[in-house]
Each structure stands twice: as structure tokens, then as C-alpha cells.
């Protein structure tokens, strides 16, 4: 019963990935093909400040996106968890609906809003707040906005799950023992909802590294992060081995994060249960 799926995945998932791994050590042919001259030169290129910057920027953007999602998402998830059960179903559904719709079209919608002569600028100018259109589209900021927009539900759902399980009477106990609201939050609520925080962060961070077309469309030609870099190698630059190496690095980053999450999760759930 399992033979078909195993064979399929081995053929179309594992083999291609191994291929990429191998290719990452190969070299670019004169006209863009792959030449089987092996070495670590593709990886070494990443030590070049140009590419290092890209890596750092990518991680930075992902981290910023995650932080913003967390800051916006936590109070929001808390609000959801406070609602009476009947309302909660509906509200959760409302949160999840945008997530179901097409990523591309939603990104496109932001383009409409953020353009030089788009909605936002027209509106702001109409209100007299600014006299000239602000350039929001085609900046790094727009990319972050797009990423936050698209990935917010991924942060909210795990957070909600964690906060919902949290026993709010513990906060009352903390107040009773003299804690201020901020202290109660920091020392009681946050540690106990940490599984949700970590899960949400991972679900936002990893895609932030990989959703290159959002960054492409909203960030313009000036913004290059690792996703766009890989994309470029396989289209314009035709340097497949280099693209493969970049992909390997991206994959390794994702795997490391997931591994840490699994370790943390097992460790933390034991601690919290105890």
C-alpha cells in the first residue's frame, strides 16, 4: 500500500534534492550549463561581502518580519482567546480566510495601494498630510509589509492555540502575590505560552526567507535577498551550480530552525507538564 507513494517521493523529491546537493559543488559552463568540475567554490563565494550582505539582509528581513508578526499577533491572539466560544469560531474563520486566498493576488493588491499614484498616496495627499507622493512601493519596507501581511495568520494560529490552553487564573494568583500586570505577563504568561511563540516564529521565519516573488514585486529590483538570488541564478544569470549552493544554504537554515524547534518543544513540554 505504501509502495507507490514511497517510490514517487523518492523519485521526485529525494533524487532532485540530491541532485541539487551535487550540483552545488559543480561549476558553471561557459554558456550556462553545468560542468562537472567539483569544488567548494560556490560556497566560498558566499564569503564575499556582496553575498554575505545578502545572507545577512535575508536573515534580517525574516527576523524583522517575525518580530512584527509577533508584536501584532500576540495581543490579537489574546483578544481571540478572550472571546466567548460562539464568537470564536467565526472570528477564527475570519482570520483564516485571507490565508486561503491566493498569495499572488493579495500581493498585487498591495501594489495597487502602495504605488506612487496608488491609493495610499492619493488618500494622504487628499487629506493634506503630504504634498508629494511617498515612495513606498519598491522598497525593502514594502517587502516587509507584504511578508507580514501574508504570514500573520501563521503566527496568530499557533499563538492562539497556546494562549487558549493557558490557565488565566495564574495571572490572578500573580496579582494576588503583588505582581504588576507587566511583571505577571513577563514572568507567568509569556513563559507558559512560549511553545506558541516559538511555533509561530518558525512558521513565519522560514517562509520569509523563501517567498521571493513577494519581495520581487514589492521590493523591486533593488531588493535582493536569498530567495531572489536563487531565482536569478536559474533565470537571468544562468549559474545553476551557484543557485544550487544558495538553495542548500537556505535549506540548511530552515532545517536548523526546525530542529531547534523540535528539541525545544520536547524539552519545554516536559518542563511545563512537570
Amino acid at each position: 500500500m505504501l509502495a507507490p507513494i514511497t517510490l514517487w517521493l523518492l523519485a521526485f523529491q529525494v533524487v532532485p534534492l540530491l541532485l541539487i546537493l551535487v550540483a552545488s559543488f559543480a561549476s558553471r559552463g561557459r554558456y550556462g550549463g553545468i560542468v562537472y568540475k567539483f569544488g567548494v567554490h560556490n560556497y566560498v563565494r558566499f564569503l564575499d561581502p556582496l553575498y554575505l550582505d545578502i545572507l545577512v539582509d535575508s536573515v534580517g528581513v525574516a527576523a524583522l518580519t517575525t518580530a512584527i508578526c509577533l508584536l501584532i499577533g500576540y495581543p490579537f491572539a489574546y483578544f481571540l482567546a478572550q472571546q466567548p466560544l460562539s464568537r470564536r469560531h467565526v472570528l477564527l474563520l475570519l482570520v483564516v480566510i485571507p490565508f486561503w486566498t491566493n498569495l499572488l493576488t493579495r500581493t498585487y493588491a498591495w501594489m495597487i495601494i502602495l504605488r506612487g499614484n496608488g491609493l495610499l498616496n492619493t488618500w494622504l495627499m487628499g487629506l493634506g498630510i503630504i504634498s508629494e507622493p511617498i515612495e513606498i512601493l519598491y522598497t525593502m519596507g514594502a517587502s516587509v509589509l507584504g511578508l507580514v501581511y501574508v504570514l500573520l495568520p501563521f503566527m496568530v494560529l499557533p499563538l492562539y492555540a497556546s494562549i487558549e490552553k493557558f490557565d488565566h487564573r495564574m495571572l490572578r494568583a500573580a496579582y494576588d502575590l503583588g505582581a504588576t500586570p507587566w511583571q505577571a505577563f513577563r514572568k507567568v504568561m509569556l513563559p507558559l505560552t512560549m511553545p506558541g511563540v516559538i511555533a509561530g516564529s518558525i512558521f513565519v521565519f522560514i517562509p520569509s526567507l523563501a517567498l521571493f516573488f513577494i519581495i520581487d514585486l514589492l521590493g523591486g529590483a533593488r531588493t535582493i535577498l536569498i530567495g531572489n538570488l536563487i531565482h536569478r541564478q536559474f533565470t537571468q544569470a544562468r549559474d545553476w551550480p551557484f543557485g544550487a549552493a544558495a538553495s542548500v544554504i537556505l535549506t540548511v537554515m530552515s532545517l536548523v530552525l526546525i530542529f531547534l524547534y523540535v528539541r525545544f518543544f520536547n524539552h519545554e513540554t516536559e518542563r511545563v507538564d512537570a
Binding site: 541539487i20 490579537f76 483578544f79 491566493n102 499572488l104 493576488t105 495601494i113
Partner: protein, 274 residues
């Protein structure tokens, strides 16, 4: 938490909802806007929808999308369901490995999956076409279907099958009369999710599509790079509504919540995806 704190929290929540829905509303609204520029409202019109339907390129792209989605859905649902059953019902030595293998399409950044398949097809000398795209889609859809069906199987009360056998049904009849009817909502949900994932897919499709196999998202992507375009508005709005409808059906399947709760032995919760 004080009254002001509660008010603030509520305000924050509504702002987040507004943020989530703003682009969608803008997109749909402007698809009916008589003005080309998407800035001021100049009157209601269905002109863009009309143009969209008459555009040969769009029609072709829609046809491709449907073909790819349908074939991928059928095959991946079959594969995924078989896998879910095998995993849920049997124990065997390399179960862990297979489970891990199944998670790869889900957690791997799409761009890495896309380029790896591109490299694979190049290596085996397969030209990019609808077929290669279908293969790619099946690969990630099957994994999702198996997760969804497995979740449903997992929550199913095992004693129901024992009861059927106790009353004289052999394994085959137990499956058809008890197990299958109770799992089928999960299978249908999985199929709908697969269909939507396939319709919406951008990144993997980008790397595995041949020259004549543009799908709707790829069409939108190419158009969007050239700037804002009212036909694309109409197309995007349509795609939004279609995917939204599909997913709503997947969520609110024929089986009422009460029956779901009974079938899972009392463990239905808000936010549960199935």
C-alpha cells in the same frame, strides 16, 4: 486587565482585521471600477470582466490551471489517502523514515523544491510542459492530503470498527459501511485543499512550466511585473472568490459539527482545520 486595557485590545484586534481585509476589499472593489487607474472611483462597470473572459491568453491559462489542478488532485488524493491509511493502521520498521519523507514537501521552501525539479527534469531530458508541472504538483499535494486524512483517521473512534465486526461485518464490509463514510469528509477536504494548492501555486509552477503551459498565477505574475492592469484586477478578484469558496466548502463539509464530534469521540475544537 483594566477597562482601558480591554478597549485597547479590542481596538487593536479590529485594526488587524481591517488590515487583513483591506487589500482584498480594494482589489474586488477596483475590479468594478470604470477607471483604468485604480485610484479614484469613476463608476461601476463589468467591462473588465468582459475583457478578461474574451482574452485568449487568460482563457488558455485558465484551461491549463484546471487541467493541472484536476489531474494533480485526483492522483494526489489517491496516493495521499492510501498513505494515510497505511500509516495510521500499521506499524513497521521504517515508518519513521516515511513520515519524515512525507514532511519534506511541506516544510521545504518552495523555491528549493522548484529548482530541484527543474534540475531533475533537465537531467533526465524531460522537456518542461504541463506534464512536468503535474508531476511537481502531485509531489507536494499528496503530502498535504496524507496529513489531512491521517488527522481525520486519528480522531476516529476505533471501537466503531470493532463494533461493526462484532455485528458480523468482515474487514471489507466494515471498511465500506463504517470507516469510509466516516473518513470521507476528510478525504474530500484533502482533495479540495490539494485542488486549491495547485490552482494557487506560483513558485513551483514557475520552475516546472514549459512555454505553452502558463497557468493563471503565472499569467498574473507576468502581467503584474508590467504594472497595474484592470483586467488583472478582475482576474485576481475572480481567483480570490473561487479559492475562498472552495476552502469554505472544505471546512464546512456536509457533516454537521455534532456528528463530527461524535465520530471523533468528543474531541472537536474551534480552529481545528478538519
Amino acid at each position: 486587565m483594566g477597562r482601558w486595557g480591554k478597549r485597547l485590545l479590542g481596538l487593536h484586534a479590529w485594526l488587524v482585521f481591517a488590515f487583513l481585509y483591506l487589500p482584498i476589499v480594494v482589489l474586488v472593489a477596483f475590479s468594478f471600477n470604470a477607471s483604468r487607474l485604480n485610484v479614484v472611483w469613476e463608476g461601476f462597470t463589468l467591462q473588465w470582466y468582459g475583457e478578461m473572459v474574451r482574452d485568449a491568453a487568460i482563457v488558455r491559462a485558465a484551461r491549463n490551471s484546471l487541467i493541472v489542478a484536476t489531474v494533480s488532485t485526483i492522483v494526489s488524493t489517491l496516493l495521499g489517502t492510501l498513505t494515510a491509511f497505511a500509516l495510521a493502521r500499521h506499524r513497521f520498521r521504517w515508518k519513521r523514515w516515511l513520515e519524515g519523507l512525507l514532511y519534506i514537501p511541506i516544510i521545504l521552501p518552495e523555491i528549493v523544491m522548484g529548482i530541484s525539479l527543474l534540475a531533475f527534469f533537465a537531467l533526465v531530458g524531460m522537456r518542461l510542459s504541463l506534464t512536468t508541472m503535474i508531476i511537481a504538483h502531485i509531489t507536494f499535494c499528496a503530502a498535504f492530503v496524507s496529513v489531512v486524512v491521517r488527522a481525520r483517521l486519528h480522531g476516529l473512534d476505533r471501537t466503531l470498527e470493532r463494533a461493526a465486526m462484532d455485528l458480523g461485518a468482515n474487514e471489507w464490509r466494515t471498511f465500506w459501511k463504517v470507516t469510509f463514510p466516516l473518513v470521507s469528509p476528510g478525504i474530500i477536504a484533502g482533495a479540495l485543499i490539494a485542488f486549491t494548492l495547485s490552482l494557487d501555486d506560483v513558485i513551483i509552477s514557475f520552475f516546472t512550466a514549459g512555454p505553452g503551459s502558463t497557468t493563471l498565477p503565472l499569467y498574473v505574475l507576468s502581467m503584474v511585473r508590467l504594472g497595474v492592469n484592470p483586467k488583472v484586477n478582475a482576474l485576481s478578484a475572480t481567483m480570490l472568490v473561487v479559492t475562498f469558496l472552495l476552502m469554505t466548502i472544505a471546512y464546512l463539509l456536509p457533516m454537521g459539527r455534532r456528528m463530527r464530534r461524535a465520530a471523533t469521540g468528543g474531541q472537536d475544537q474551534p480552529g481545528q482545520i478538519i
